[in-house]
Assembly symmetry: C2
């Protein structure tokens, strides 16, 4: 039975896609099967695996989702995204009452895997809301920057809103992941200390360093885990995987 994790934060550029790609591949290396769902019309998770986006958004497609997935070189299975603006607008205006169909299609697809990671766009809109309705837990990546902290309160507000809409089922925070940590920047240390003091339990112990290899790997259509096995970030994603497995088992 799959554990579905929504990777969400409306703040842009914090590392949602980078986390989906690298945690996905690291989970596969740890012997789990993993589906990555690219929910973002930008399709960065799709191109980050070196694949092509679909012409129409799969969540609205009449075809069954298992016909639209595609394997990646690194062992993760991907449900690609689509840049189709018409479909993105349709999803943005989707009434909550119609979420159920999309949610159950995604959950049915995810059943065939140990984990499913949903990469969300930088917004609190309907695509992110559908992902939060589908997910078992939420992983919130956070840049070690000032604006990133500001957005955390709004993100927690949306999670609370979705919890109420879902009724009894909880939607626990799997964790807050501090990303792009640059130790030479004073502000990075301040943000880490502040977020840890506000969310002592939720924060992952692992912090992902800001490292050139992460950005370079993406431009080659790979995860950093495969592209640069001895990078510091690769070690950090391995530690994150151990923490994720531990937190999912105990949830």
């Amino acid at each position: 039975m799959a554990h579905i994790i929504a990777i969400a934060n409306q703040k842009g550029g914090v590392g949602k896609t980078t986390t989906a790609i690298n945690l996905g591949v690291a989970l596969v290396m740890a012997g789990r099967t993993c589906l990555v769902v690219d929910g973002d019309p930008q399709c960065n998770a799709t191109t980050g695996f070196g694949l092509r986006p679909l012409p129409r958004h799969p969540w609205l497609s009449p075809q069954s989702l298992d016909q639209l997935v595609s394997p990646t070189e690194e062992g993760v299975t991907l449900l690609p995204g689509s840049p189709c603006r018409q479909d993105a607008d349709k999803l943005s205006a989707l009434p909550t009452a119609r979420f159920r169909t999309v949610v159950s299609r995604l959950r049915t697809l995810a059943k065939g895997f140990d984990f499913a990671l949903i990469d969300c766009p930088p917004s609190l809109g309907k695509i992110t809301q559908i992902a939060l309705h589908t997910a078992d837990t939420v992983l919130v990546p956070l840049q070690c920057e000032y604006f990133a902290m500001e957005g955390l309160a709004q993100m927690c507000g949306l999670i609370e809103f979705i919890r109420k809409q879902r009724g009894q089922q909880a939607l626990p925070l799997l964790g807050i992941l501090l990303n792009q940590f640059d130790p030479s920047w004073q502000i990075a240390h301040e943000v880490v200390a502040e977020v840890r003091s506000y969310f002592p339990q939720a924060c992952f112990k692992t912090v992902i360093p800001r490292e050139q290899a992460v950005s370079e790997a993406t431009s080659h259509g790979h995860s950093v885990v495969t592209y640069s096995p001895r990078a510091r970030a690769t070690l950090a994603y391995a530690m994150l995987t151990v923490e994720t497995l531990y937190r999912c088992d105990s949830n």
Copy 2:
């Protein structure tokens, strides 16, 4: 008569807000009057000036916009944003036929200034589309990263779409601004070279360096121009202002 610039890019975290704040203050230092409109429900431009967001989104408010603006310590006038999710959802579902009211209210407000900068959210949705309908030109900030280049084609596609909707009026690209340039990263040099080769005219000559002072200034509710006058980024924003004035005069 104001020159209205939409600062837009659906890729998250490229520096839209940072550009709006710093270019805004630099224009004021160059003796121009400047309005910054915070269109993003994240309200980063509002908090970046140390001010509070409005409870309801001003673009939907019955009050006249000139009653909702507020001065900032650095001489820029700000129309704050609002985190109200209900209003953000309403704006996201606004039919194109109703853009005209919002567009004309924003244009009327902007008349009282030399420049108006509209900070857009990281999306191609209706808030960004309204800003593109309101604007005279578009400034597209770009991180010196791989994913940033991917998004440029989608951004140009939206600008073309809006041009057709607006009929004869052009919506020229004021320019593409390369931001967060880290000279120690090989990929940054590659992105600059590639973007310059594709868009030789559109690219600003000025490149904004990645510098700690920029991020720190934001956390103190100031622009880097005021917070750290001798920073490399401050000089870059001064050069950007000169280029912007030159490009606006000749448009």
